[in-house]
C-alpha cells in the first residue's frame, strides 16, 4: 500500500506514517515545481498533525553519474520543514530553505504564499489506489493474483496532506533535476528520523516480504530502513537491504515465467542499485506529464536521454506501472491490479488533491 503502514513504528502511530510523496512540474506553470507529502493513512475527520513532529521535504540536485546507470547527488540541499501547533484550530508553519517562515491555517484551501512558495496542509482524499489484498495474495501464492476488477483498500480514505508549489529556479539550490525525499522526525533539540519516503511501494510491495530472502528471513527490515538517510545509506545494513531487494525483485521478475531482469555475476538485480537510491527524481525543466514515474531511470538503464519530467503525478496508476516494470521490464503486456482510479481524481489546480471524503464513503 504505497508507503502506508510501512513498518511497526508507523503502524503504532499514524501521525508519523508517510503514505506517499509526489513531485511534478506545476501543470499550469513551467516555473513551478510541486511537492506533496501525505501522512496519516485512514485519517478520520478529527485527525490532526502532531505538534511533536517535523514533516520535512528534502531536495538535492542530481545528474546521471559517470557510470551511466546511477545518480550523482549534489551535497547542497534545500529543506522545507512543516511544523504544527498543539492548539486547535491547528496552525502550520513552513520553514523555507532561506529560513523564511510561512504561517498558515490548517485546511485553508488556498494556503499561504511567500517568496515564491505556496503552501497548503490539511485533510484530503487519499490519491493512492491499489488492490492490496491481491498484492499480498500474489506474494503468498507466488502467482499473479490480480483480477480484472480489483478492490481498492484505500477507497474513500483520507490522509493529511502537505503541498508545496515552488518557484524552483529561485528557491532551490541547483537543478533542474532534483532528488526528493519526505521525512518525519521527532521535534526537539536532537531530531530523530522516524520515517522516510522517496519512491512509492519500496517498503511494502518491494521490501516487506521476507520469504524469498535467504540472508535475513526473519528480519522486519522496514523500521531500520526508515531510519536511514536516503542520501547517505549507512554501510551497516546496506547488505541486508540489497539482499532483500535482490530476492524480492527476482521473485517479481519470475511471476510471468521468464527472466526479464537477469542478475549480474554477484546476484544483483539490475534495479537494486537504483531503488536503493530511494528518492523521487524529477526534472523541473520538462513539461508536466501524467504518466512519467521512473522514465528518467528507465532511460538511464537503456542508455538514452530521458524525455519526460519523471517524478510522480498524483493520478498516475503507480501500481500497474510498478508491476509491469518488476514483472516484465515493460517488455510485455501491462500488468494491472484491477484498480484504475481512486474515489476522486486530483485536479491540476492548487492544492491539487481532492477534498476529504465523508467517513461513510469508504463503506459505500
Amino acid at each position: 500500500m504505497s508507503d502506508h503502514i510501512s513498518g511497526p513504528r508507523a503502524i503504532a502511530d499514524p501521525v508519523i506514517d508517510i503514505t506517499d510523496v509526489y513531485a511534478f512540474p506545476c501543470p499550469d506553470s513551467a516555473q513551478h515545481l510541486v511537492l506533496v507529502m501525505n501522512v496519516f493513512p485512514y485519517a478520520g475527520p478529527s485527525a490532526l498533525f502532531s505538534d511533536a513532529v517535523i514533516y520535512r521535504l528534502r531536495l538535492r540536485s542530481v545528474s546521471t553519474a559517470p557510470d551511466g546507470h546511477s545518480f550523482a547527488v549534489a551535497a547542497a540541499e534545500s529543506v522545507f520543514d512543516f511544523t504544527f501547533s498543539g492548539t486547535q484550530p491547528q496552525e502550520g508553519r513552513c520553514t523555507l530553505p532561506s529560513g523564511d517562515v510561512i504561517t498558515f491555517g490548517v485546511n485553508e484551501q488556498s494556503g499561504a504564499s511567500r517568496r515564491g512558495v505556496q503552501v497548503f496542509a490539511g485533510q484530503r482524499s487519499d490519491p493512492f489506489f491499489l488492490d492490496g489484498p491481491m498484492a499480498e495474495k500474489t506474494i503468498a501464492t507466488r502467482k499473479l493474483a490480480f483480477k480484472e476488477t480489483g478492490s481498492d483498500r484505500l477507497y474513500g480514505k483520507n490522509v493529511l496532506g502537505m503541498v508545496l508549489r515552488i518557484e524552483w529556479a529561485t528557491v532551490l539550490k541547483g537543478g533542474p533535476m532534483f532528488a526528493v525525499v519526505g521525512e518525519t522526525l521527532s521535534a526537539g533539540k536532537k531530531p530523530v528520523r522516524l520515517e522516510r519516503v522517496g519512491r512509492p511501494e519500496i517498503k511494502n510491495i518491494t521490501l516487506s516480504a521476507k520469504i524469498f530472502d535467504t540472508v535475513n528471513r526473519d528480519l522486519e527490515i522496514r523500521d531500520i530502513y526508515n531510519e536511514e538517510d536516503a542520501f547517505n545509506i549507512s554501510k551497516n545494513y546496506a547488505g541486508a537491504y540489497r539482499a532483500r531487494l535482490n530476492a524480492n525483485l527476482a521473485f517479481f521478475d519470475g511471476l510471468d515465467g521468464k527472466v526479464d531482469w537477469p542478475l549480474d555475476h554477484e546476484g544483483n538485480h539490475p534495479l537494486t542499485g537504483l531503488l536503493l537510491a530511494d528518492f523521487l527524481v524529477v526534472d523541473a525543466s520538462k513539461p508536466f506529464s501524467e504518466t512519467s514515474y521512473f522514465e528518467i531511470e528507465q532511460a538511464m538503464l537503456e542508455g538514452r536521454v530521458h524525455s519526460t519530467c519523471g517524478g510522480r503525478w498524483l493520478n498516475e496508476d503507480l501500481v500497474d506501472t510498478l508491476l509491469t516494470l518488476y514483472v516484465n521490464a515493460g517488455k510485455g503486456p501491462r500488468i494491472r491490479d484491477g484498480v484504475d482510479a481512486p474515489i476522486a481524481w486530483s485536479s491540476k489546480v492548487f492544492p491539487y488533491m481532492a477534498p476529504p471524503n465523508r467517513a461513510e464513503a469508504a463503506a459505500s
Partner: protein, 336 residues
C-alpha cells in the same frame, strides 16, 4: 534526570485515536473490512477504553473480535484479537486457548509467547511470565520488551528492577505517541501506590496525566492518592467529574468512600447507590471480569462484606494473585 522527549500533545493524540476509529468503523459496520482491519479496530477501541476508562469500548471491541473469529475461525489474527479482548474481561483460560490456537494457525512463537506472558502475569503465574518476558527482552532489547517488564517486576514486588526497566524503556522509546509512556507512568504509579509510597505514586500518576490529560484511570488513581495525602477537595472534584462521565463504577465507588470518610454522608450515599447499581449490572453479565473491583467496593463504601466475600472468592479462582488473596483475606475478616 531524563531529558523530556517531544511527544504529541495528549489531546491531539486522543483526538487522532478517535479519528482512526471513526475512519474504520463505517467500513467494519458495512461488512467490507478485512480480518486485519477489524482486528486493528479492536486494538484501537480497546486502547481508547483503557485511556478514557470506558467499559462500553471494551464491550464493543469484544463484540467485533468474537465476530471476526466466527467469520474466520482459522485465522491467527482473528484469534489473537479475541484472545486480547477475552483477556481484558478476565476470561484467561479462553484467552490462553485462543493464543494456542492462533499459534497453530501461523502466529509466530515470539508473538504468541508475548501474549501468554501477559495472561500468565494477570493470573499470578509470575515465574512463567518472567521467563518468557526475560527471554524476549534478551533477544530483542527494545521498548516493548522492557516496558512489559515494568508491571511484572512491580507485581513481583521487585521495586528496584521495575524502576530499572522503566528507565530502560523510556530511553529506548523512539516514537512521539504519548500513550506508551503514559501507560508506563501509570504502571509505576500503581506500584508506588501499592507500596505505600504516595508521593512517588502522585508523581507518576501526574506524569501520566500530563502526557495524556484525558487518561481517566490515571486521574482516578491520582485522586485516590491525593485523598490519602489529605487533599480531599481536589480529589473529590476530580472523581465527581469522572464518576459523572464514565460507565466504570470505580470512580463512583472511590468517591463514595472518600466522601464518607470526609463525613459527607448524604453525598456519599448517592454515589454509593450509583456504584452499587452499576457493579450489580456488570457482575450479572461478567462476574469474573468485575469481581475484583466489586469486592473491593462492597468491602469499603458498599458496606456488604458477605457480597464482598463471594466475589473475592470468585476473584481468587479467576486470578490467584497476591492482590486477590489479600482481598479475600480482608473479606473473610470483615464477614467473620
Amino acid at each position: 534526570m531524563m531529558e523530556e522527549r517531544p511527544l504529541t500533545d495528549g489531546t491531539i493524540a486522543l483526538r487522532n485515536l478517535d479519528a482512526q476509529i471513526d475512519a474504520f468503523e463505517p467500513e467494519v459496520r458495512a461488512g467490507h473490512a478485512s480480518v486485519e482491519t477489524r482486528a486493528g479496530l479492536t486494538e484501537l477501541i480497546s486502547l481508547r477504553g483503557l485511556i478514557v476508562g470506558r467499559i462500553a469500548d471494551y464491550e464493543k471491541a469484544e463484540e467485533i473480535a468474537e465476530q471476526i473469529v466466527r467469520d474466520a475461525p482459522m485465522d491467527a489474527t482473528a484469534l489473537l484479537a479475541r484472545a486480547r479482548t477475552r483477556g481484558g474481561f478476565h476470561r484467561f483460560n479462553d484467552a490462553l486457548a485462543d493464543v494456542d490456537q492462533a499459534e497453530r494457525f501461523g502466529l509466530e512463537t515470539e508473538a504468541a509467547n508475548g501474549e501468554r506472558a501477559a495472561i500468565l502475569q494477570a493470573i499470578g503465574r509470575y515465574d512463567e511470565s518472567l521467563a518468557l518476558r526475560e527471554e524476549a527482552a534478551a533477544r530483542r532489547p527494545n521498548f516493548e520488551n522492557s516496558a512489559a517488564l515494568v508491571s511484572l517486576h512491580a507485581d513481583r514486588g521487585e521495586i528496584e528492577r521495575a524502576e530499572r526497566s522503566y528507565q530502560e524503556s523510556c530511553s529506548r522509546y523512539r516514537g512521539v505517541s504519548p500513550f506508551p509512556l503514559a501507560l508506563l507512568d501509570f504502571q509505576l504509579g500503581l506500584m508506588w501506590m501499592n507500596a505505600g509510597r504516595l508521593d512517588d505514586a502522585r508523581r507518576s500518576f501526574k506524569a501520566a496525566c500530563r502526557r495524556v490529560p484525558g487518561y481517566a484511570q490515571a486521574q482516578g488513581h491520582l485522586a485516590e492518592v491525593e485523598a490519602e495525602l489529605g487533599e480531599i477537595d481536589s480529589a473529590i472534584s476530580c472523581l465527581q467529574l469522572l464518576a459523572a462521565s464514565s460507565d466504570d463504577p470505580d470512580y463512583a465507588a472511590q468517591l463514595a468512600r472518600i466522601l464518607a470518610e470526609d463525613g459527607r454522608d448524604d453525598e456519599s450515599r448517592r454515589w454509593r447507590q450509583v456504584a452499587a447499581a452499576r457493579y450489580d449490572e456488570l457482575i450479572a453479565g461478567r462476574p469474573e471480569a468485575f469481581a475484583d473491583h466489586a469486592a473491593e467496593f462492597w468491602l469499603a463504601a458498599g458496606g456488604d462484606p458477605e457480597k464482598a466475600l463471594r466475589l473475592a472468592r470468585l476473584n481468587v479462582e479467576v486470578r490467584n494473585t497476591p492482590r486477590a488473596r489479600g482481598l479475600l483475606a480482608q473479606a473473610v475478616a470483615a464477614s467473620a
